[in-house]
């Protein structure tokens, strides 16, 4: 049996379809997604996952109808305010990946900032919300940062490059869960998912619950991770006896 993955990431897909199946506006799907988010955070926390990353809103999502974007942003703000204290008391450190876009309304930016400030010293679990995030953009930004720092080409290694990514202390993703059966990467944390295991449960995100999460962890445990090699030596600490 394998250990619990250290870093789990979720691509929260299927809100729109969930709403369409019920003849509701797309925004109703986003609204229903909140319960799933809270359930997954609780489940990951209980399971002992150290890092949980959620893909909430991509840079591409700005292209959606303005009304939908507005509702989505308002929902995020409401969720932050509603759950800030619970997250904090659970010892969860909250971070946001991306989120520097000027289109983000100042009150939301303020709340994001406050949530990070409030929880920055927590260590039980780190919740990274990829908000207004684009994996390629992060890589481009890291490249710019390298050039600005005048790092000579021969000194650019995978490790030194990774130190220029946002939140360089974030470990590589071990498991990505993408709901609704879609099997795409969608520009999500491209650098960090390089060796991740992917599972694609068919359930739509608003219906995703703790038991689905446990199933995904189970799938992960049964997989044989190779990291591109033939076999992972147990000495890395990943294996079990």
């Amino acid at each position: 049996m394998r250990d619990v993955p250290h870093h789990v990431a979720c691509v929260m897909d299927g809100n729109g379809r969930w709403a369409a199946q019920r003849s509701l506006p797309r925004t109703a799907g986003h609204q229903a997604a909140e319960a799933a988010v809270i359930d997954v955070i609780e489940a990951a926390h209980t399971a002992g996952v150290g890092w949980l990353s959620l893909y909430a809103f991509s840079t591409e999502n700005w292209r959606r109808p303005a009304a939908e974007v507005d509702v989505l942003l308002w929902l995020v703000r409401r969720a932050i305010r509603k759950h800030a204290l619970t997250l904090h008391t659970r010892g969860i450190r909250c971070r946001f990946l991306g989120g520097a876009d000027p289109r983000i309304p100042p009150p939301l930016a303020r709340d994001i900032d406050d949530l990070m400030t409030l929880t920055r010293d927590n260590r039980r679990m780190t919740l990274t919300v990829a908000f207004d995030h684009g994996g390629r953009r992060d890589i481009v930004e890291a490249a710019r940062s390298l050039i600005r720092d005048g790092v000579p080409p021969e000194q650019v290694t995978e490790e030194s490059f990774a130190r220029h990514l946002p939140h360089p202390d974030m470990p590589e993703v071990d498991l990505v869960i993408r709901t609704s059966g879609e099997q795409r990467i969608s520009n999500f944390m491209l650098w960090q998912v390089a060796y991740a295991e992917w599972v694609f449960p068919p359930v739509l995100w608003p219906d995703f619950r703790a038991e689905h999460f446990w199933e995904c962890l189970d799938v992960y445990r049964r997989r044989d991770r190779r990291f591109g090699g033939v076999q992972v030596p147990t000495a890395t600490g990943k294996g079990s006896s």
Partner: protein
């Protein structure tokens, strides 16, 4: 318990320097860095306000109701400079205070002239601070013995002598002081408007300190509970003879309340780590920009805690309804009038309002006499021009309506002159640009807020442009809001 004493005001271990009563070993020096000095200052201001001259000066010129935090901060800073180990700093500060007070003159509502630099009034201010310190010690169960009292009194007299080369008007001995004090209460003090404003309005309406400014609802709720308690404590701590003269009733239970309050400050001062009960720490928590100048890391942990507390409070405060225009860059003429121009909060724009702005700038930049004069002259010229153009009913002051009707005409030659003088006095090294250090001295903030990236320098033209934009175009500016609008 012998190790608990060093945080008190008299640890009996540091000998006073007989030649220099205000040396770093002095009781006053220690006291002025303790947070409970805030209690002393608040109580003393009621006693000061009951003096007709001081009361009149406070009510017509002071910004303490509209901007109490700024006022408190300046008072604290000034008191600390007055007991600075370096005697030159003390003399410079005393001279600055004298200039500042000499500018505050006028006549009260009954036509009696007042002058903030009046030696008798100034002696009373120091007397109230001394008596409030003694009272604080007594109420917190830390009674000072005869020699300690004598020493403290000598220190306060030295404090006064710094401002008053003639030695001041405080009696030479403590015995005579108490007679003087009783006599003042019985014959000189009055139930002035300033006393009523402090007791009725200050605690009930005190605006949020900078830390909680974004949580107005939470602040208002806390203030509704704490305001009356603070008033009751202050009233109950006043001398009984004065309470009788002012007709202030003693509410049942306040005796216990007051002892509890003072005792807890004493215990806090004795038992908590010294860094926590330092005035700088408390001020730093209330106003995150305050202690940045210190640059020390000792407070970093506390500030971190305060930042977290502030964040939590903001997150728990109900958010304003969607659609509220809280991010607009333009503000209405009425808001600009009340937030920026009307410094004294009396609803009118008058010379004391502009003088308060000049005073704030002069205090922040610690200007010498020459620069201070230039600044006040520029502001006075601006005031004359404003009055000529805006005071349509000729009553000598500008109302909110008069201002709103002609606000667009605010960009005047006199205002440009104010901007240029402000640039000159801020540009300490005369290199014709405001660099990061100079910017920080004026705005108490890092450069980036308005600069929008770019170089950390402001040319004269850019500086003047921004100042005029703020004053005339009524554009929001974090930097200028911190300077003029926020308490």
């Amino acid at each position: 318990m012998s190790d608990a004493a060093p945080t008190g005001i008299d640890d009996g271990t540091t000998p006073a320097d007989p030649a220099d009563p205000l040396s770093p070993g002095s009781m006053l020096h220690r006291l002025s860095h303790q947070a409970r000095w805030g209690l002393v200052a608040t109580r003393a201001i009621v006693l000061e306000a009951a003096h007709p001259q001081i009361g009149a000066a406070l009510i017509t010129n002071s910004t303490f109701v509209a901007h109490p935090w700024r006022r408190l901060r300046n008072t604290v800073l000034s008191a600390q400079r007055m007991v600075d180990p370096d005697e030159r700093v003390r003399r410079r500060e005393a001279a600055r205070l004298n200039r500042l007070h000499a500018r505050i003159t006028g006549t009260d509502a009954e036509g009696r002239p007042f002058n903030a630099a009046d030696p008798e009034a100034r002696a009373w201010v120091v007397a109230t601070l001394f008596e409030s310190t003694v009272t604080m010690c007594r109420l917190s169960g830390e009674s000072l013995d005869g020699p300690a009292l004598d020493r403290l009194y000598a220190e306060f007299r030295a404090f006064l002598a710094l401002m008053d080369p003639d030695g001041g008007r405080l009696p030479p001995t403590l015995r005579e002081f108490w007679r003087y004090y009783e006599l003042m209460i019985e014959e000189r003090l009055e139930n002035t408007e300033a006393v009523r404003v402090i007791l009725d309005r200050l605690f009930a309406q005190v605006p949020a300190p900078p830390l909680l400014r974004d949580s107005p609802a939470a602040w208002a709720a806390g203030r509704a509970l704490a305001g009356p308690v603070a008033t009751a404590i202050t009233v109950a701590s006043l001398p009984e003879s004065l309470r009788a003269r002012l007709g202030l009733p003693e509410l049942p239970g306040t005796r216990t309340l007051i002892h509890t309050a003072y005792l807890s400050t004493r215990l806090a001062t004795r038992l908590l780590p010294e860094a926590w009960t330092r005035l700088d720490t408390i001020m730093g928590m209330l106003d995150p920009t305050y202690s940045r100048r210190e640059g020390g890391d000792a407070l970093a942990g506390l500030r971190r805690g305060a930042a977290k507390a502030g964040a939590l409070l903001r997150l728990l405060t109900p958010a304003p309804q969607a659609g509220a225009a809280d991010d607009s860059t333009l503000r209405s003429a009425a808001r600009f009038f009340s937030e920026v121009l009307d410094q004294t909060g009396d609803g009118y724009l008058d010379w004391p309002d502009l003088a308060a702005m000049a005073r704030e700038i002069a205090t922040r930049l610690d200007l010498d006499a020459r620069d201070e004069d230039r600044l006040f002259t520029a502001f006075a010229d601006w005031w004359r021009e404003l009055r000529k153009e805006l005071d349509t009913d000729g009553d000598g002051r500008v109302t909110g309506q008069e201002y709103a009707a002609a606000a667009a005409a605010m960009t005047s030659s006199a205002l440009i002159r104010v901007a240029e003088v402000l640039f000159d006095v801020t540009d300490v090294d005369d290199d014709q640009v405001i660099d990061a250090g100079e910017y920080r001295a004026l705005f108490r903030a890092a450069f980036d807020h308005d600069a929008g990236g770019g170089d950390e320098r402001l040319t004269r033209a850019e500086f003047v442009r921004r100042f005029l934009n703020f004053m005339a175009g009524r554009l929001h500016s974090d930097a200028y809001d911190r300077l003029f609008a926020q308490s």
